[in-house]
């Protein structure tokens, strides 16, 4: 069997998680925010698999399957909410939805 350095897996997971976190913080389009959340979940799963490879046990892979289930449920509900939001407000701006009706009207006028 080949020999690899297993810290690389954890460092890659940390890098992907940080990029996903940056995406959540800097984007205003709700679809990009959902995609960044997917990146973060995937990075967490990568950390689990790297840990499982470190100890040579399948437990990390089992946790990845659970993360997969959580991500699938999250994305189905999230995308349904995005569709609802776009039909109701005609925009994907996450900041717009946080405002109350009066603020939103004022923002549109100015």
């Amino acid at each position: 069997m080949s020999v690899i350095s297993l810290n690389i897996g954890l460092i890659l997971a940390a890098t992907l998680f940080s990029i996903g976190l940056t995406g959540v913080l800097i984007r205003r389009n709700i679809i990009f925010i959902l995609m960044s959340v997917e990146i973060m979940l995937n990075a967490a799963g990568l950390a689990f698999v790297a840990g499982g490879a470190r100890w040579g046990s399948p437990d990390g892979q089992v946790m990845f399957i659970f993360i997969l289930a959580v991500a699938a449920a999250e994305v189905s509900v999230g995308l349904a909410l995005v569709l609802l939001m776009f039909r109701k407000f005609g925009s994907l701006d996450a900041d717009l939805i946080g405002k109350t009706g009066a603020d939103r009207d004022a923002g549109e006028i100015t």
Partner: protein, 172 residues
């Protein structure tokens, strides 16, 4: 094998960076699929072939296709892309990005400072994963099934009510 791991990791990081900086959602989704495929290769190198297959089938297949369909259905057009470019000015992203970079530096320091574990890859076969999944983790499987059912019901409810309202408006 190590070289392969570095290359796959580099491609994953680059594609993910492109994902969060694109203004066209379809381009971002395609970059995200590239990133997920290279992470699947990393899984394969780490000795998890079953997880690599699941990553491709469920993440790059099902979830990303769901995203693509939603982006096509929304069809926000060129004006939204221009607005997206305006939102991506440096004044908005420098602060959060530098904070994330500090976090990344700390994490890399922690993972890099420990004694580097260099050991042969132990491959966990799908049979071993399945035995663990339906053995000690059976309760987790049941909970995941309930979570997925809740997700299904919620997505159905959210999608259905709006279409019923649309139907009323259309007939009125």
């Amino acid at each position: 094998m190590n070289t392969l791991l570095y290359i796959a990791g580099f491609v994953a990081v680059m594609a993910t960076l492109m994902t969060i900086t694109r203004s066209n959602p379809v381009h971002a989704l395609l970059y995200l699929i590239v990133s997920l495929l290279s992470v699947a290769l990393v899984f394969f190198i780490l000795g998890a072939p079953f997880i690599a297959a699941l990553e491709i089938i469920i993440y790059a297949g099902a979830v990303m296709v769901l995203f693509v369909f939603v982006v096509i259905m929304l069809n926000t057009g060129r004006a939204a892309m221009e607005q997206e470019k305006q939102w991506l000015n440096p004044a908005l992203w420098v602060g959060p990005a530098s904070l994330s970079a500090v976090l990344l530096g700390e994490l890399v320091y922690v993972f890099g400072s420990g004694d580097s574990v260099i050991k042969p890859v132990v491959m966990s076969t799908p049979a071993q994963v399945g035995a663990a999944l339906l053995g000690p983790y059976l309760l987790g499987v049941e909970l995941a099934s309930m979570l997925l059912l809740a997700g299904l019901v919620a997505a159905f409810h959210l999608g259905r009510r709006e279409s019923a309202v649309d139907g009323k408006e259309g007939s009125a």
